[in-house]
Symmetry: C2
Subunit: 419 residues, 2 copies
């Protein structure tokens, strides 16, 4: 990645990397606040410059002028499928297998319920350290179904394969951990599960838009993901769900609202599921939030996913090297896998004073990362708008925070942030 | 309602009614297309003029500039409860009993599941002519719970009371029928159900913002409703749900996502429901769609609900009288209750050629109503932006359509529209 004479990790070397970056021009398509280095695109992606204008068109011309006729005239009716197909191109899924709908949590409920309908087993495998809402949704689902399903939670990613035995109905796994950035081997785990007759649901919240994915190639059964992180769809953007084509017409999902009906405008009194992925739609979708998400999707679709992943890895490796070089003397410990091929698009460090370092001092200095209890500092790299010099400056500022003990001050407690 | 010398139902009389209308000034707060008389605000409410500016602020200043910190700084975190309390003021519910969240369909699933948890009965009463998505959601819920619940569907509103006997767990009823505008007696049915130990879930989709409601006074258990009709929240705006304070801490709902957790940012591995209404939250909410809805709520909160209802009744009565006078010779039949006190904010007429009259001819003439299979022409009155002269003109144009048989032309089939 380095073909010049500047010292590796120097400001000059970073400037040269930016100058040679094939994705560098994407940065000008985002509104980024001055004086901020934003390394939290894995919580909330930055604002594409085109979003405001597009939203304004939809509000004024579609809603305001064409009113109810816009459901047909402006493609509102098909928006969930149209956006789904765009997400599909990003995650390596075939046309007609992805839908943008509801929230990630609601989508998880739908696809896990569908999976449990297909499989007589009673065991659901997941990780103790999975993103909590996934576990919470599983708890609610199990209690509500009342059919004696049980959660089998593993304590370490190394235990996942062994936990998926022939008693298992479905494994519900997050591809890239929100806490450590550790990335699981989607293809290997899916194949292992299939060999034992189990299904897998993948949560791609921290993967889509930052990591190369090939859902078709990995023969994935079900997946869900998030629109407001690396897809830059805006706060609380709708989530997505994927169902393999081979399963779609075999499954039903419990949230069988009218948008999932075969003939929604026939207003028939009983439910008949639409063919294909559309049976996973439920109620009327929030068009304004879908509009913003579509702008984010259209932008990321212009970037080759391979280049996105390469840059993400390079940014993460640079950050790690600079942290080791500049900051490890103050007691930071790498909390992500050391091997970049096992990381998503973030890198995490543990520090006993992590909360104050991040929430009191570093954000004050204009470097926005994230803190995750009990001691994790989390830095995310959105390759479309984070550059190499950002990484260099972020580590320099963290060094300054440590040198001057800027974190050792009265604390602002309980800053809420959304992963 | 008439205190002048103009002939009742004449253009002059309508002009005078508009001149005396205490809500007339609200019309200038909406963007309404010229040459359109919009009588479909019960499908999609019109665009408030303030929406674009407010959305632009949220996009540029909150998302774009303040990024992740906006969850606290700009009240995103509490938006569902804040908006819920605003809806509560519109529907006569106490603070802390209403939440804006998800879609109406998803909310129905949550509250019916919660109700069924409270009651050992197996019978769910509803109407065969209920809005289909409510029935579809009940079907999905019953199948998914697998506990032998059964739907008892009545064919006529007159049969509802008799159907709610002591075997019934919950009645799921729509307050104002989407098809006929018929309004049920919320207080009487709720009291009847309570006397037999049953619970009631009210769907207020066609009521909130147009009909005076007193959920507290009627001792309602649960309710849901829609943000994109008379609340003018924009296409697919999030829905709302209401849970009586006395029930909140006794119930759980199955969609137990992290926004419903007692301590969402503690990232605990198991679920503990938040106290109060917030346990009915699920995933991360769509902030941009919530933003537009809040503008609609703030606008309607400026109008006394009693005046809104009075004008709605007056518009409906005027429409009925003019239809009888000008158009009944062509075979229209009133499909709504003749008594205004039994109607919501719409009036419906049946005609064998209803589809073509509405979808081919009348909309072409600039009068936007709605058609509902098999033969219903539906006209909705949003009292904040529909005026008396609109009603007069709409009937004159319908008369012209009938006189000149403008509907009797090659048909544009299958216009999708959202109730």
């Amino acid at each position: 990645m380095q073909q010049n004479n500047s010292e590796v990790g120097s400001l000059e070397a970073c400037l040269e990397l930016d100058a040679r970056d094939s994705l560098a021009h994407f940065r000008c398509h985002f509104e980024l606040p001055e004086d901020t280095i934003y390394l939290d695109g894995n919580s909330l992606g930055a604002l594409p410059k085109a979003t405001s204008q597009r939203l304004s068109e939809v509000v004024q011309l579609e809603w305001g002028r064409d009113l109810i006729s816009s459901w047909n005239k402006h493609g509102w009716w098909d928006a969930q499928k149209r956006l789904g197909d765009k997400v599909g191109r990003i995650i390596g899924a075939e046309l007609g297998t992805v839908l943008v709908a509801d929230s990630t949590s609601v989508n998880l409920f739908k696809v896990v319920a569908a999976a449990l309908d297909l499989h007589p087993g009673k065991i659901i495998v997941s990780e103790q350290a999975n993103f909590p809402t996934d576990l919470y949704m599983l708890e609610g689902l199990i209690r509500h179904m009342g059919r004696g399903h049980q959660l089998r939670l593993v304590n370490s990613p190394e235990d996942i394969l062994a936990a998926i035995d022939s008693d298992v109905a479905v494994a519900v796994l997050t591809h890239v951990s929100y806490r450590t950035g550790r990335m699981l081997d989607m293809a290997a785990i899916t194949a292992h599960a299939h060999a034992r007759g189990a299904l897998v649901v993948w949560d791609l919240a921290h993967s889509a838009g930052a990591v190369q994915l090939d859902l078709s190639g990995a023969d994935v059964d079900f997946a869900v993901g998030c629109g407001y992180k690396f897809l830059n769809g805006g706060p609380g953007a709708p989530g997505f769900l994927y169902v393999a084509e081979r399963l779609q017409d075999k499954v039903q999902q419990p949230l069988s609202g009218w948008f999932g009906h075969a003939r929604p405008f026939a207003f028939e009194p009983s439910f008949e599921a639409a063919p294909g992925i559309q049976r996973f739609q439920c109620g009327t979708p929030p068009i304004l939030s879908l509009t913003a998400l579509e702008v984010g999707l259209d932008l990321i679709l212009q970037a080759p996913q391979e280049a996105v992943r390469d840059k993400s890895v390079a940014l993460g490796c640079l950050f790690k090297r600079l942290m080791e070089q500049e900051c490890f003397e103050w007691g930071f410990r790498l909390a992500s896998p050391p091997d970049a091929s096992q990381r998503g698009s973030q890198i995490c460090f543990a520090h006993p004073e992590g909360y104050a370092i991040m929430q009191v001092a570093l954000i004050e200095k204009g470097v926005v990362g994230d803190f995750r209890s009990p001691d994790i500092l989390r830095f995310g790299f959105a390759p479309l708008y984070v550059c190499y010099v950002d990484v260099w400056e972020a580590v320099q500022k963290l060094k300054l925070v440590m040198q001057e003990r800027l974190w050792d001050q009265p604390r602002h407690r309980q800053r809420a942030a959304v992963t």
